[in-house]
Symmetry: C2
Subunit: 353 residues, 2 copies
Amino acid sequence: MFELIKKSKNSKARVGKLHTKHGVIETPVFMPVGTQGTVKSLTPDMVSEIGSQIILGNTYHLSLRPGVDLIEEFGGLHSFINWNKPILTDSGGFQVFSLSKVREIKEGGVIFQSHLDGAKIEFTPKSVVDLQRGFGSDIMMPLDICSPYPCDKKQVAADMKITHKWEQDAVDYWQNDKKGQLFFGIVQGGMHKDLREESAKAITGMGFSGYALGGLSVGESKDLMEKYIGYTTDFLPEDKPRYLMGVGLPENLEFAIANGIDMFDCVLPTRLARHGQVFIDSGRQNIRNKKFYNDKKPIDENCNCYTCKNFSRAYIRHLFIANEILAYILMSYHNVYYLVNLVKNIREKIIAE
Amino acid sequence: MFELIKKSKNSKARVGKLHTKHGVIETPVFMPVGTQGTVKSLTPDMVSEIGSQIILGNTYHLSLRPGVDLIEEFGGLHSFINWNKPILTDSGGFQVFSLSKVREIKEGGVIFQSHLDGAKIEFTPKSVVDLQRGFGSDIMMPLDICSPYPCDKKQVAADMKITHKWEQDAVDYWQNDKKGQLFFGIVQGGMHKDLREESAKAITGMGFSGYALGGLSVGESKDLMEKYIGYTTDFLPEDKPRYLMGVGLPENLEFAIANGIDMFDCVLPTRLARHGQVFIDSGRQNIRNKKFYNDKKPIDENCNCYTCKNFSRAYIRHLFIANEILAYILMSYHNVYYLVNLVKNIREKIIAE
């Protein structure tokens, strides 16, 4: 399913192809997030035009609304949202531990409260696979426990043990009927080298299609992130893809790829856009800044996206200040394009080495 | 500038071509409104793809924010907003009388308070032409007084007199230096037949490029609207275009065209979309309605727009309930497409008679 095409001579970077039932994904790859069945502020045509090869869906959100039954009635998530390329869905674990106030972890799964209506819902290793079968995801993820950071090492170890049991249950359940779906294991173990090693060894023994690095939140320093990537990838097989969950700021992508990561996702390009923040090679800027008042330049002079080919900073600033939806569209377009193509360019550089 | 190509045998409907410096507009025509320099929720590419031949801009809004100086610095509104087809700008009169709480009408113009920051601003017949020269509008509109409805007849008559004086000042000022811009006179006179006739005769004597029917708000009954159109169009020359300002609901377009109207604008297609309302041949519907929960049909089964070719009612309902911007994009696209093409089809029917 994963072809390792080339390894960089200068770093641990890799170039590959991941085969899914909705087509081939060239790695390294940045995956835009479509939390509730849409990459926020963009049409699927735009997401495709940007060059996105795969998008994410969130099992937590989609299972609460509109619900897996409706999505199944439409023949799966691809046809429901009109996206014919690969989709990866997460397990919902991250949202259970970040959005739900009440939750109870048991051996068999986790009970949480819907942030929409307070309903009590249980996710189990198998139910989360069933949900993702209903979505028809190309790549599924197993239920895991996301320990907070910082966190007592004993707690991290205990969470990890439960996660391993859950993942074993889930992978067994998947293997009974794969339906052409890929399934990635998640390595946990917090920031502890020994736990990471233990987790990687346990998870890689289970027969997943690829491996994700879990337990990282958005705010870590680069040093810490680099350590943590190394702690994990050192124990991952070369012939499977490696996915760094939730990471995707421009400043993180290049060094993470150099450390052997193949796949990234991040909600920030569209979220930042809604707050007026845009990616520029020289750093992140807020379009609201007065200095852009009469700036005729595009957001990024080196960018070939629809937004940068057609609109000035001054116009987008005007739209943003006037609360026009077009501002969110144009800035989301640019930010997603920026990340998707930043990773594409890194891929091409490795190929050209 | 205006070619009258055909008159219907069955009604007062007309088919024509209006030549502007940014191209030819085939009439009858529906003009989407881009209040603040964008047709809300749509990219200019989408507006063009929909088949829109011309869009509106609002002088009141654009002069307050971002201001005419900035727009001039960008070479006019077309290049500022990246729209290369014709633009009609209104005079700001309607907004002065609907949005501003404090206003003072004097012979020379009107002083009002900006709804943004409370600043006192004066619009005069000439200043409003200057603003629209700065925008580089293809079609300009003169400052007028929009009497409320219902309104004492004496007041309507008095407002009309001032409007006539303002329009004469404005048309003289325009004629000194036309810059390739068209200028439409506005006929006022409320719902009073004699005043309408008086106003039409006065305004048509001034040498404008076309004529608008002012003073109508969105809520009038069809009967009243029909009377009022007749009161005015009976006194308008055949060789000039006729623009029914602010009117454009599906139920109004056909009979207004049959009564000799050539041009329409309306903010409702995009505004209704943001409230979940969509146009369907069988009437207006709210996408939030529970009955659409698992409805696989497009918004309108007879529609060929991007939205209807690609997305189900159930998906759009899900997006709307989840507060996703894509809901506004898709519904605005459909609603604008619906009106633009409704008028196009009526035009083709008249040609085929």
